[in-house]
Amino acid sequence: MPASRQEKMTKKERIDALLKGQPIDHVPFYPFVLGFCARNVGYPLSVIYSDPARSWEAQLWTHEEYGFDWGPIYGYASYGTWEFGGEVKMPQSAYEQAPTHITFPVQTEEGVYRLELPDVKKAGCLPLAMEFSRLQEKQGTPITLIFGGNFTIAGNICPVEKLCRWMIRKPELAHHILQLATDHIVDAVKYWADTYGGEQVIAQIWEPLASNDIISPKQFETFVLPYMQESGNKILGMGVKHIFYHICGEQNLNLPYWTQMPMGDLGICSIGSQIEIATAIKHLGTKAIIAGNIEPNILQTGPPQQVYRLCKEIIEAGKKAPRGFMLMSGCETPPETPPYNVYMMRKAIEDFGWYD
């Protein structure tokens, strides 16, 4: 869409400056859009996850059309199942959005101790992710490696209901899986850092299963915080400068722990619509760029006026973030979102997102 005011920066300049904590011309528009891009260009939704070249193309074209910043990304929330030996299904039906589990690598207690760390050069979607990152490198967009968070990977290795029961009754099993998930994250980031150089890599960690809809803050403190601190410190030790955490869903009670996560300088924290932007700034604003948090449900089913009003409120709140802010959906933009509602987000940036 044509800019209402003259942009003073290219997308790359804007994101580079944002990550360095420098001033930028307007609030960036972060692309938490995957399946929507396939729909937007007429591709089957599954190619976003199964065909890196077409996924790249679909995202790049869609970003161009709606004025997204950053660059295309590759990843999905059920990460971990396929990589540890389970099976996932690519989205096929009209109501599917992303890959889903078919079989989990672990079903029994004995299975936990038989688990082995996968070879990150061959496991699951990682070869596809690596192919995608080569495109990111070639085109000069951020090399973003996306995982489920430590707890989310654990909940994708064994069914999350089972993991929750083990946290109470057999915590040693839960700890064993979480340690494997943590080691796997570190292994994979090391592979990326070795390939592209640590400074070029941005690790992006989506943590939906650790939300308070599933676990308590006390469980977060015991089963998430130490593992994420361990992987975070090791990732930063490889020269990675930024870790991007997607704090998905209802995690207000976890925020005091998120402040203790290593995230680099600067970190990036995106939040679900359940957390107020002002609350996120209060907890995380001094060490991270805040990103968020238009409710995906409203994006898909709400009228454009509601989307626009919500964006205005969120942009105005986000612009107060001391280390910067990006507008995005509170979780992945649903594939069936009316295109005009996505256009409304960009329009709101044009109307309210400029820094004077």
Binding site: P338, P339, Y340, Y343
Partner: protein, 347 residues
């Protein structure tokens, strides 16, 4: 220039900075805003906002129109089918009002204030007036409307075997269209009117140029002349489908000062330019390619249209060759706009 200024300038035969992007979208607009296809035909408010928002999103000229879908069918008592299935695009004819020769002789011009979709069309026009947009209503095509009254196959048989019946149908359609024009002009004044003559059934895939000359030309000409007599200045005419052999006949119909004449992809824009040197021409990226082609194909077709259309002395709009199919990828439509950015500027 703003989109509004660009349209105004073209209609006043003034220079514009670049080619404007002309919207033709009904059910595609529904998909862009999350409405059902039925909504944009049966609810004037939703029809208006879907089209206006889609026009805004793709940076198209500020002109939206509403033809009701299968226009003529319900107004004369035909039964229609709503576009409820995955593969339907617009309202279609289910059972024609005229089934026999006797039915033709019994036909009367309906009350244009109450018949069929006309009350919805009037509501739509009131929204156009409220938002300062050009006001539209239907001004043809004669045979397209007659086909919705009697069924196209039956009408075609009668053209050969009982031409007097088709002439009677065309006479009634002509009087009906003039009555609509009088009602609209009486309500809004003629100044901001851009009525639409939409003529798919007139295509040479259905009728011969000789049949066009006999059954369409005199009646369509009469409607347009009466509109100009009422003070209307511009008519949008969509010469739909394969009509190369009809072009010398269409050129005998006054289109306005200037008119806007849009063509299907079957007509070369350089040919169109020769027949309509004093009108704005519009077209004509193939809708099937917009729906199923690659963005590169759409971009290339748009580039070729722009290259040819920009040479036309009275102005050019880039647009689809017909209604944009509802399942067209939005990016393909955006690609047309991108081609304008890259090739559409006048030096």
């Amino acid at each position: 220039m703003t989109e509004r200024e660009r349209l105004e300038a073209l209609l006043n035969r003034q220079q514009v900075d670049r080619v404007a992007f002309f919207p033709i979208h009904g059910s595609f607009a529904a998909a862009m805003v999350g409405y059902s296809k039925v909504d944009v035909y049966e609810n004037p408010e939703m029809a208006f906002w879907a089209r206006l928002r889609t026009q805004e999103m793709f940076g198209q000229v500020e002109r939206v129109s509403y033809s009701g879908g299968a226009f003529g069918a319900r107004e004369f008592g035909s039964e229609v089918k709503m576009p409820t299935s995955e593969y339907s695009m617009t309202i279609s004819l289910l059972k024609a009002a005229v089934q026999s020769e006797e039915d033709v002789w019994k036909l009367k011009v309906p009350d244009v204030k109450t018949a069929g979709v006309l009350p919805m069309m009037m509501r739509f026009s009131k929204l156009q007036a409220e938002y300062g947009l050009p006001i539209s209503f239907n001004s043809g095509g004669i045979l397209t409307i007659a086909g919705y009254i009697a069924g196209v196959e039956r009408m075609c048989r009668w053209m050969i075997r009982r031409p007097e019946l088709v002439h009677k149908l065309c006479r009634i359609v002509t009087d009906f269209l003039v009555a609509i024009a009088e009602y609209w002009v009486e309500t809004f004044g003629p100044e901001r009117m851009i009525p639409g003559t939409l003529a798919p059934t007139e295509a040479n895939q259905i009728i011969s140029p000789k049949q066009f000359e006999e059954f369409c030309l005199p009646y369509q000409k009469e409607v347009h002349e009466k509109l100009f007599g009422l003070g209307v200045k511009h008519i949008f005419t969509h010469v739909c489908g394969e009509q190369n052999l009809n072009l010398p006949l269409w050129a005998q119909i006054p289109m306005g000062d200037p008119g806007i004449v849009s063509f299907g992809n079957e007509v070369d824009l350089e040919t169109a330019s020769k027949y309509f040197p004093n009108d704005i021409i519009m077209g004509n990226v193939e809708p099937a390619v917009i729906q199923t082609g690659t963005p590169e194909q759409v971009y290339e077709l748009s580039r070729i249209c722009l290259q040819k259309g920009k040479k036309h002395p009275s102005g050019f709009f880039l647009g689809p060759g017909c209604d944009i199919p509802p399942k067209s990828p939005p990016y393909n439509v955006w690609t047309m706009r991108k081609a304008i950015n890259d090739f559409g500027w006048y030096n």
